[in-house]
């Protein structure tokens, strides 16, 4: 039970200091293996049942150079779960904070929806839930919500949290709590994503994060992301 994160929305930063038993989740994404199929984006939307305009994960497709010397990079972008997260430091009410397992979480019962954290995130990883739904295109979309942070929220209402608050990738805490990988890692057809525990020096992520190919986005900002890319 030590790793069970279902109590997240009642814990506060002061009581989420990591203990030695806590995992320290991290992700490594191999850009050479990513084929830019967007499966992760789709899997994430399905898993977290995110509404229109809210995408926890996206794949940025970038083409550089002029023909014939062109290079195309697909950059999958979850939340970086920064270790020095600017989104957390600006939140006026501590609604978003760093959990003991390294994941930056949001308390939808506390967030006032000021969106300060969205402006502060250098990776564009946060979205505001404007209350949109897919019910026009998809039957029963509002009938059930994803059990994010282990909280069963039931039906999606027009003004019940998380509507009116900010949302983001959680490394699928509800899945990791039961020993599964985040949905994006499980679905990746190129097997480009690795997920694991940095506290374990033998884990794949620990080893890959130390590889000479590894780099992180906008490292100059000092946000210490927990997502490494392999170039």
């Amino acid at each position: 039970m030590a790793r069970q994160n279902v109590t997240i929305h009642t814990t506060r930063p002061s009581d989420t200091k990591p203990t030695p038993e806590d995992p320290s989740w991290a992700m490594v994404i191999d850009l050479q293996k990513c084929v830019g199929c967007d499966s992760c984006t789709v899997a994430c939307k399905a898993e977290n049942r995110t509404p229109p305009g809210v995408s926890y994960n996206v794949v940025v497709e970038e083409e550089t150079g002029t023909y014939p010397n062109v290079r195309r990079v697909n950059l999958p972008r979850p939340c970086m779960q920064c270790d020095v997260p600017p989104c957390v430091s600006v939140c006026p009410v501590n609604a978003t904070y760093k959990n003991s397992d390294g994941v930056v979480v949001i308390d939808a019962e506390r967030c006032i929806g000021c969106r300060y954290c969205i402006t502060a995130c250098p990776y564009g990883a946060r979205s505001f839930d404007f209350g949109g739904t897919y019910s026009d295109e998809m039957q029963g979309y509002t009938d059930v919500q994803s059990p994010e942070y282990g909280v069963q929220r039931g039906k999606r209402g027009s003004y019940t949290p998380p509507v009116g608050t900010v949302r983001k990738c959680t490394f699928c805490t509800h899945r990791t709590a039961r020993g599964e990988e985040p949905a994006c890692c499980e679905t990746c057809i190129g097997d480009a994503r690795y997920f694991g525990d940095l506290n374990d020096p033998n884990s794949v992520v620990s080893q890959l994060a130390a590889s000479p190919r590894a780099f992180r986005l906008r490292e100059e900002l000092g946000t210490e992301p927990r997502v490494w890319y392999l170039r």
Partner: protein, 433 residues
């Protein structure tokens, strides 16, 4: 003693006025009947039209705005910092009187304090409406996060409003001579004002600038110059607002606006504009010469983007250059021209605030993301009209009830001017009596 000066509320014999809050029957009306009808009709119309925006916001949520997750802040945040600026600026003008003893501005003291309170209220309405979950606004006082400037701000605003109200109450009691000793009341005003000056500069307005300045993810916001620019442009807009308020209230009440006061305020305005221009120069030249490409893309957007007119015409021309030119030109001899300059400036500073909020959010934070695109919707405009008209209404009602625009009973020059006679004449008249 002339009837005119008695009508001005000089409490030579003041029997039954025992509370500061009761209305003094001798107080001159805030507006004369015709001006009153027109003014309240305009306000009611604005409120009626604007209430549609309020309805939409309350029942439609933020989906009725043009905001997205790419453009998280827009018009309401811009108006919020605009009104915080007006408030801080108006308060700083009042401190010129009560703290720094510049009695040439005495006449505008209570109006400045009331404007500061009302502007702050309007600012809070704007930021409240901008919250995704409005009903949770009070919890910002419950939970404190020391690294968040916004968390500090909520507390500073509360303190600041409390202090402003206290200062206004003392000022009103002083005006009505309900205080035990005039000197002691002046001292209280000075103490409150002295606490208020750093609170307004560093806490309220510099602090609001800090909200933006700490965001290292966004070029042009991040940096130490930003809070300073906030304070100076607050001075610009606050001073200009008070010039316009004094002039139009006097006209509406059928009095002669105090020319000397407006002249003196225009000097303060000019100084603030010059400092603001200087800081704006540094704000742009440094990133340009440093070839900071993030900053440059935002500057290019401001200067040549689709809304470049808000930068060149509203912010630079109306907000700064035109008012400065009018105040420097021979037109300055005409009170009307100075007030026109002030009003143009008050509107122009809205452009400054929009250009602070919107352009830095437009370039994508990571190459390949969509570019932001934003223009306020009808709901956003209408709700803004509603809040601004609401603020004007509250200001007017308080001025109807309390002697906000009355001169101090000892200010014979102002009273004489109000009664339409030169000071000297009144003096001799009094002496003969």
């Amino acid at each position: 003693m002339s009837t005119a000066s008695r009508a001005r509320g000089i409490p030579t014999t003041s029997p039954q006025r025992s509370h500061w809050w009761s209305r003094d029957p001798n107080t001159a009306p805030f507006l004369n009947p015709r001006a009153r009808t027109i003014w309240y009709a305009v306000l009611m119309l604005a409120l009626a039209v604007g209430s549609w925006g309020l309805y939409n916001r309350v029942f439609g949520g933020l989906a009725t705005t043009d905001l997205t997750s790419t453009m998280p802040w827009g018009a309401w945040v811009a108006f919020y910092i605009y009104f915080v600026g007006l408030s801080a600026g108006a308060f700083l003008v009042s401190s010129l009187i009560y703290v720094f003893g510049m009695h040439q501005f005495e006449r505008i003291g209570r109006a400045a304090l009331l404007s500061a309170i009302v502007s702050m209220g309007v600012a809070l309405c704007f930021i409240g409406a901008d919250l995704g979950r409005m009903e949770r606004a009070p919890i910002t006082l419950l939970f404190f996060h020391w690294t968040s400037p916004l968390s500090w701000e909520v507390r500073f605003y509360t303190l600041y409003i409390a202090l402003l109200i206290a200062e206004l109450v003392v000022a009103i009691r002083l005006q009505k001579r309900l205080v035990r000793s005039v000197e002691a009341a002046h001292r209280t005003m000075r103490i409150l004002g002295t606490i208020g000056v750093p609170l307004a500069i560093f806490g309220v307005h510099g602090g609001t600038g800090t909200i933006f300045a700490v965001v290292k993810a966004r070029a042009m916001w991040a940096g130490g110059l930003f809070p300073v620019i906030f304070v100076i442009s607050a001075m610009v807009s606050g001073t200009a607002l008070l010039m316009a308020v004094h002039y139009w209230q006097a006209r509406g009440a059928g009095r002669v606006p105090d020319r000397a006061l407006i002249r003196n305020l225009s000097t303060v305005l000019l100084a603030a504009i010059f400092i603001d221009l200087g800081l704006t120069f540094y704000e742009f030249i440094v990133p340009l010469l440093a070839f900071e490409h993030h900053d440059q893309s935002i500057i290019m957007l401001q200067a040549f983007g689709p809304y470049a007119w808000t930068f060149w015409i509203v912010q630079m021309f109306m907000g700064l250059l035109l008012p400065a030119a009018i105040i420097l030109s021979p037109l300055k001899k005409r009170t009307g021209a100075l007030v026109a300059a002030a009003m143009i400036c008050v509107i122009g500073i809205i452009g400054v605030r929009f250009n602070i909020v919107v352009p830095p959010l437009i370039p994508p934070v990571i190459e390949g993301y969509p570019t932001g695109d934003y223009f306020p919707t009808i709901t956003e405009w209408l709700l803004s009209v509603f809040f601004i008209a609401g603020g004007a209404l509250v200001y007017s009602l308080v001025s109807e009830w309390q002697p906000i625009h009355e001169p101090d009973p000892d200010d014979h020059a102002a009273i004489a001017a109000d009664a339409g006679m030169p000071d000297a004449e009144l003096r001799t008249e009094q002496e003969t009596i």
